[in-house]
């Protein structure tokens, strides 16, 4: 990434991570960026920093614009290590007069870096500081997606620094959404939402309402990962967030399964065909070849999930346990579910899956189909019945 002036005297100075493929369990096949922004005015402010290993990228970009020691203010919108890992070193070099953060940010910074001596200045929603011609206003966004999270806004530029909100894990030298030739952009934005923010959808909803209520005018959204939204693309991403936080979905159903000796797989195929016959869009997602975070992306706009697992030693298969633990944490709503699977003796997998779904209040469209060892034709009929129950439940949701 090179330095880019995104508004007069506001510069993008962060780092591109072309190589990361696993972001705490989220597959980042396109890499990512750690964005940081410099505002040059009578007072010079740096908004967010980068992951520890990218400290030199940030310093290299900063020195193109300013002697880093001349930076007066550091604004920490979010304390997670991908945006703060380089803080101890950066603080030593720039020695800012003030470090702005939320109340929870202050706590989190102390807990991460154990530095009582930094010049913390706690801010809350609506607090404004004057830099010169420009001002910056803070907006606390707790649990979007950490307790410390906040946004920073420059009213003169209608520019919102949105921390992890509206981000996407995409490495690119292009800095704007409309410059990416890669048509994968909205998919990556959806993947980000589904894997990081789904569980906080009620908070996203409240935030969008709050932004409307505060009458904040926005013509640029600069997140801390991926490209910047400007002009029309701002509207595009905001309306996508409106859809996602309201759990708006398509007539789409996912068959998510793993199989030991192909019996559960056979059941999956029969279920998939019957769902398609019922007019639904079907995705067959074998857990051995689909990453949990890609499946989660498909969950975002699916109306139903059908989960299939053989029983291994009185439990569901480990990859299914992995997926449903992840899924449960992200607490998607407005979905119907059903489970199936083959087994050798006691066959607990279906029961265990149903219990997890009930615990997170997702209704079962069917009590589940269990088959001892290899399915016979009558078992396939049961699978078709399960599929038809799901089709009926989905049609009822529309």
């Amino acid at each position: 990434m090179s330095v880019t002036e995104i508004k007069e005297n506001v510069f993008s100075v962060g780092a591109v991570d072309w190589n990361i493929r696993d972001f705490h369990g989220y597959s980042t096949e396109k890499g990512t960026t750690y964005n940081s922004y410099l505002i040059k005015d009578e007072k010079i402010a740096l908004v967010d920093t980068v992951k520890k290993e990218f400290k030199d990228d940030l310093l290299f970009h900063l020195s193109e614009l300013v002697d880093p020691e001349k930076i007066d203010y550091l604004i920490v919108n979010h304390v997670e290590m991908d945006h703060s890992g380089s803080l101890p070193e950066i603080m030593d070099i720039i020695k800012p007069e003030k470090l702005f953060c939320s109340k929870n940010g202050h706590k989190a910074l102390l807990e991460h870096f154990h530095r009582e001596d930094w010049p913390y200045e706690i801010v809350k929603t609506g607090d404004t500081i004057k830099l010169g011609k420009k001002t910056v206003t803070f907006l606390e966004t707790p649990m979007l997606h950490w307790p410390d999270s906040m946004f920073t806004y420059i009213p003169e530029d209608k520019l919102l620094f949105s921390s992890d909100g509206f981000g996407q894990h995409i490495a690119s030298t292009e800095r704007y959404a409309d410059e990416l030739n890669d048509c994968d952009l909205m998919h990556q934005a959806a993947k980000y939402y589904s894997n990081i923010l789904t569980v906080f959808s009620p908070n996203v909803k409240r935030l969008l309402a709050k932004v409307a209520e505060m009458g904040i005018e926005i013509d640029m959204i600069a997140p801390d990962h991926g490209v910047i939204w400007r002009g029309e693309s701002c509207g595009e991403i905001i309306s996508a967030y409106e859809r996602w936080c309201n759990y708006i979905s398509a007539d789409k159903v996912l068959v998510i399964y793993d199989s030991m000796w192909h019996s559960t797989e056979k059941m999956a195929k029969v279920i998939g065909s019957e769902l398609a016959r019922g007019g639904l869009e079907v995705k067959m997602l074998n857990l051995k070849v689909n990453h949990r975070s890609d499946i989660m992306t498909d969950v975002l706009d699916a109306k139903a999930l059908i989960l299939g697992s053989s029983t291994l030693n009185n439990n569901m298969l480990p990859v299914m346990a992995d997926f449903i633990t992840y899924f449960k944490g992200l607490r998607p709503k407005n979905k119907v579910v059903a489970a199936f699977g083959s087994y050798g003796w006691s066959g607990e997998a279906v029961k265990h899956i149903n219990q997890v779904m009930e615990a997170i209040n997702l209704p079962l469209a069917h009590p589940g189909v269990r088959v001892r060892n290899v399915p016979r034709p009558e078992h396939f009929e049961e699978c078709q019945e399960l599929a038809r129950a799901v089709v009926a439940a989905v049609k009822e949701m529309a």
Binding site: K103, N104, P142, M143, P147, V199, P202, N203, R331
Partner: protein
């Protein structure tokens, strides 16, 4: 009635209740149903402390 704070910073105020989760104003923290979780972060009741 006492207010209770969640590790995420959310404060349960019995005078307000929690309309989004169907909790009426005037409900004491102690009277919240067991399945109730923090509307902001999802933490359980037992993680809260007196504010």
């Amino acid at each position: 009635m006492a207010k209770y704070e969640c590790p995420c910073g959310y404060i349960y105020d019995p005078e307000e209740g929690d309309a989004e989760s169907g909790i009426e104003a005037g409900t004491a923290f102690e009277d919240l149903p067991d399945g109730w979780v923090c509307p902001q972060c999802g933490a359980a009741k037992e993680d809260f402390w007196k504010a």
